[in-house]
Symmetry: C2
Subunit: 390 residues, 2 copies
Amino acid sequence: MTAAANQSGRRPTASRRLERAGIRDVAAAAGVSITTVSDALNGKGRLPDETRSRVREVAERLGYRPSAAARTLRTGRSGLIGLTVTTYGEEPFTFTEFAYFAEMARAATSAALSRGYALVVLPASSRHDVWSNIALDGTVVIDPPDQDPLVSELYRSGVPVVSDGKPGNCPVTAWVDNDHEAAVLGILDHLSEAGARRIGLLTGTSTDTYTRLSTDAYLGWCQRVGQEPVYETYPAHDPAAGAVAADRLLARPDRPDAVYGLFDPNGTDLLAAARRYGLRVPDDLLLVCCSESDVYATTEPPITTLSLKPRRIGTTVVNLLIDAIEGVDSGTGVTVPDAPTGRLFPPRFRTAGTGPPPGTLMPTELIVRASSQPRSPRTTISPPRSPGEV
Amino acid sequence: MTAAANQSGRRPTASRRLERAGIRDVAAAAGVSITTVSDALNGKGRLPDETRSRVREVAERLGYRPSAAARTLRTGRSGLIGLTVTTYGEEPFTFTEFAYFAEMARAATSAALSRGYALVVLPASSRHDVWSNIALDGTVVIDPPDQDPLVSELYRSGVPVVSDGKPGNCPVTAWVDNDHEAAVLGILDHLSEAGARRIGLLTGTSTDTYTRLSTDAYLGWCQRVGQEPVYETYPAHDPAAGAVAADRLLARPDRPDAVYGLFDPNGTDLLAAARRYGLRVPDDLLLVCCSESDVYATTEPPITTLSLKPRRIGTTVVNLLIDAIEGVDSGTGVTVPDAPTGRLFPPRFRTAGTGPPPGTLMPTELIVRASSQPRSPRTTISPPRSPGEV
DNA sequence: GGCTCATGGAGAAACGGTTCTTCTCGGCCG
DNA sequence: CGGCCGAGAAGAACCGTTTCTCCATGAGCC
């Protein structure tokens, strides 16, 4: 009986070491055809429940696990999604995006998993060998640089690509980003209301969308309100450079009385620099930085942070991607021609065609703490925007 | 010509939408057989260089990318490694292991990539459907609980498993861990030398190896030096509980004059608690915690931390796993019968047989900062153990 | 000149599923 | 009583590689 199952019409002389049971083994053991087994296990075909459950039971007993490779080959679906991170230097992901990336990746993993997909982490720098050795149903790209050749090739070869961060010049299926302009303007207003007269910015030298949009928003605001811009730039991937830049900013003759730092470690760096110059926060200097880290809740004083809500982003990106993967296959089918592009929080998903890819803007959240509030009025601490929500 | 290539002996009537070029197309275009194409591209077989390069060129021109699924099916190798994380609740990985995990995962990704593998992140909680839908060549497991059914099944079905953290009771191919006992003893000695008379511990309630070994080391030390243990426990996955436990520890009548916290956020929690009780650090309370976060370099005062060197761990784990994957296939071949088990920093890899799996102990690094040094002598800051090394 | 041998390359069998098509068999209806 | 129909299940093609086996050819050797 088991012997019969073992042979199952394959190589008669095979020594058969510890090969796992295949679908044929199950079929033989259950006394049915492999078609029936496949149908029974996948809930397809027309089978009476009795057969179905019997086959399932036999499969279970034999410890049958279908071969992912075979299934992928036949169906063209691997259930795998790439998560691409841009890299500086050799490390797969960057220091500066650490907390953001970790949270985003976590949410993305969750979201993917709950829809039956798994995530493969792939630095954008890896060469084709690695990429093309993996069957990917689609890819999430974090902050693709302009003209990313990798993204272009993926897109061209028909793999759906959704980017976290509005893509500069590469074709993607869809993208998700924060409303960085609104976020920066919100912060500048917040600092103004707190009494700031001259707001400085600590920003990066790179050309990614986040840095560019944020800096532009700052410059535009300065122009509108008639303040001379006061900012320092540094390569965001280098934490040491950040500390130096923070110091530089506070050492300027036109020292700002409030600073917004675009990158995670800026808060502690600015705080340390302020200490060195004998500046009290928030009395002499108001501070806000963009960070996902909760250490800023316990610094002395606690620092107001802007959260980009990476969990939401990760979830949204993955869901858009899976929609694209499972949606209308390609070309013709426009699912919903909804709003144009860049609408807030919108789109029912839309499968290609021509024209710019559909983008989704997600709100940010300003977590107001002591560092950005004048000490005297002693108001209670509360987040001003987007309350509720995880 | 392209027409000929397009047909290539497949369905004659196929409408052939935008199918990617297959190996047959390349073969047809190059005027050779698919065997030759395969050999040429993979550097196998006996072919004159001329043929080889011609085929390569044609493949390049056609944008040929071999199907990962087909290759995997045929060769049995996917180039994919699972990275399993234990989960508390719904999130794929835990808060408390955040920095550790992020760093470890990053190093693991790098290490895997440099050997041509990619990492798939998989929460241990996901059900079989997900696991068995992915062709994995092997799996890294982070801190498997005793009797982890997942690990057992993987191991049983022949997939190499290497764990980060000495496995309790599940069979693994190999494991890597820090020398937690030595680390704790080193810290206790360090605190004693700094003048501590009564050292407290902030530890977890869970039964993972790290918590257990560390706590045992502490208790053993107490017994040896004749100090009454002073410790508080809390569920490590709950950050809020950590703050409460820190408070509890400092509120005790037998308040310790030095504390070691096993988990990352303990440092800030203890600092905050100390502030509440008016305790100065390090004057009234010496502080050390285990953390990979560099925020402790800039807290007030900076806090001494124990680093588990997750990068090293991640790299080692992955390399051991890939050795196992690529090494002698199974059963008979003992590569090197080296030292027994649990030797420090050792083993040439050893493929199974019976007996306990080979384990590697990695050193930790104590980063001494102001919080654990009496203020007066004002010594310079320097790491006492394992200098150098990334 | 017949043999072996090395070289270059073609043929075809896997790999292990999914799925389209076909077959059989009763029951039912006209 | 014959044909139709639908349920249940089997057959076989196919997915795109890798790789084992084998064939043709010409050179070298006795």
